[in-house]
């Protein structure tokens, strides 16, 4: 247990912001488009492995960070066009199909990179002294990126025409169609955007973790929790949700043990899903 409470809080903040980054894409695809995408974790996975592959190819980390959202965004668009769109009226089948897609993505990664885990070096290695203790630079980078993404999402949704169209489609899909908005196209775009965010998050957090093909689920569940805990719909609430879940997990891990923290988070998921499930899932369309 670290002696310094401010370091504890910094850790919690880092965890919360990291989780927000991971959950931001889900906030868009689930919170806005209303799709439960069980392949979200695998989209993050593909983002992480993209960063790995680009780095291995000698193009450096930053190129990977830039490429990942584009690649995974395209993947998301494909997923929406081929699968999600057809299963719009069938939420359970959407779950199954996205679960299958997750399996496909995961196994493709295994086929291409093997089952073992890999590591990727952060672009700026080393630490910075914060509050009298060393703190890895890349962690700070991820936190900054999370804040940038939050700001960007807010700007996109509330200060642009596209954002207005998406918010309208989310508020009342039928009314949006009747007002002349191309709802299916907007939803595909939003879904692809959410996927791209996942890719970005995967590439950004890759240097902090050991990358292995099974890590998708570890991303998916906390991300879902963060989105479901969020008091309000959409990305704004997710910041708060991520803070609660990520911060909470970090604190429990520090005070007790990481394994217990995971179990607490998962048990919390069960209790929270009970309370929250009726509100968000199964929205009227």
């Amino acid at each position: 247990m670290p002696a310094d409470p401010t370091l504890l809080l910094l850790d919690a903040l880092a965890q919360a912001l990291g989780l927000f980054l991971v959950a931001a894409g889900l906030a868009v695809t689930f919170g806005l488009v209303g799709v439960i995408n069980l392949a979200h974790g695998e989209l993050l996975l593909v983002g992480a492995y993209t960063a790995l592959a680009v780095d291995r190819a000698g193009l450096g980390y930053w190129a990977g960070l830039a490429l990942a959202p584009l690649l995974v965004g395209l993947l998301g668009l494909l997923l929406d066009l081929l699968v999600i769109r057809r299963l719009r009226e069938r939420p359970l089948d959407t779950l199954l199909a996205t679960w299958a897609a997750a399996l496909v993505l995961r196994q493709t990664v295994v086929a291409l990179f093997g089952p073992a885990s890999h590591t990727i070096q952060p672009p700026i290695a080393g630490s910075v002294t914060l509050l009298g203790a060393p703190y890895p630079v890349h962690r700070l980078l991820v936190m900054v990126l999370a804040l940038l993404v939050a700001a960007f999402l807010g700007w996109l949704l509330f200060a642009t025409r596209l954002g207005l169209m998406i918010r309208g489609t989310v508020a009342d899909r039928t009314l949006a169609a009747v007002s002349g908005l191309a709802v299916a196209r907007l939803e595909a775009l939003a879904f692809a955007f959410g996927a791209g965010l996942a890719g970005l998050a995967g590439a950004a957090t890759a240097p902090l973790l050991s990358i292995d093909p099974q890590m998708g689920l570890g991303f998916l569940l906390p991300a879902f929790l963060a989105v479901l805990v969020a008091p309000a719909g959409g990305p704004a609430g997710t910041v708060l949700g991520a803070a609660l879940v990520g911060g909470g997990e970090s604190l429990v891990a520090a005070l007790a043990s990481p394994v217990l923290a995971q179990l607490v988070v998962l048990a919390g998921a069960v209790l929270l899903l009970r309370r929250v499930a009726g509100r968000r899932v199964g929205r009227e369309r």
Partner: protein
């Protein structure tokens, strides 16, 4: 002109709610569709817009067959819709509602012009649309539909749940719109007041079929003729 011939529609395959409906919407004229609850009036509007399953029939806009077109295409082609009930985007401000109504249309009407027609909305421009009163929401719903510069306006029971004084105002506004902009209006109503005030022609639906066509003035002059269809 918006021409509907032999329209059959419903919500489940093989169970049509509407059968063999013919009608014409002409710019500058108001066609009222009246009938009891469950007669299929709302279904008619939805079917024209592609929101209900069309089982048979043709819909022609300026001579072109459009029955296969998606809802958003029809909206952009100039068919505006004010649905029953809320008709506004919750969570969006009044101003945003008006802007969204125009986005994607070839000739959107700026909010400023709409505020001129509906001054009360100007006072509420930054409020969440869901927080407006019933009457204000109805005005917003109509303003939103007008933001797209429609040539035809379909309204589903606009007077429902609105105070009589406001209904009068609504009627005046709509009449002015028809006169000024040459809008072709399809007005579905259960209440006689608004329909009697505005209708140039009237269609009566019963059990999904057209059972009578009356000239508009009949609604005001001989209400008994229509009242028996409405079960009053």
């Amino acid at each position: 002109m918006l021409e509907v011939r032999g329209l059959a529609a419903g919500y489940r395959p093989g169970a049509p709610v509407l059968r063999d409906v013919d009608l014409e919407l002409v710019p500058g004229r108001v066609l009222a569709v009246m009938g009891r609850n469950g007669a299929g009036k709302s279904t008619l509007l939805k079917a024209i817009l592609g929101l209900a399953r069309r089982e048979a029939g043709t819909i022609r806009l300026d001579g072109r067959a459009v029955e296969r077109r998606p809802t958003e295409w029809l909206a952009r082609a100039g068919i505006g819709f004010v649905p029953q009930g809320r008709g506004v985007f919750p969570g969006l401000t009044v101003e945003e509602n008006l802007r969204v109504g125009g986005l994607g249309h070839p000739r959107p009407v700026p909010p400023a012009a709409l505020y001129a027609r509906f001054p009360i909305l100007a006072e509420r421009r930054d409020l969440d649309a869901a927080s407006l009163s019933g009457g204000e929401q109805r005005q917003l719903a109509i303003a939103r539909a007008l933001a797209g510069s429609p040539r035809f306006l379909l309204l589903d029971e606009p007077s429902e749940g609105i105070q009589p004084a406001l209904v009068d105002e609504l009627g005046a506004t709509l009449a002015a719109l028809v006169a000024a902009d040459g809008l072709g209006v399809l007005l579905v109503e259960q209440s006689l007041d608004l329909a009697a005030r505005l209708a140039d022609d009237c269609l009566v639906l019963e059990d999904g079929r057209v059972v009578d066509r009356l000239p508009g003035p009949v609604l005001a002059d001989e209400p008994a003729r229509i009242e028996r269809y409405l079960g009053l």
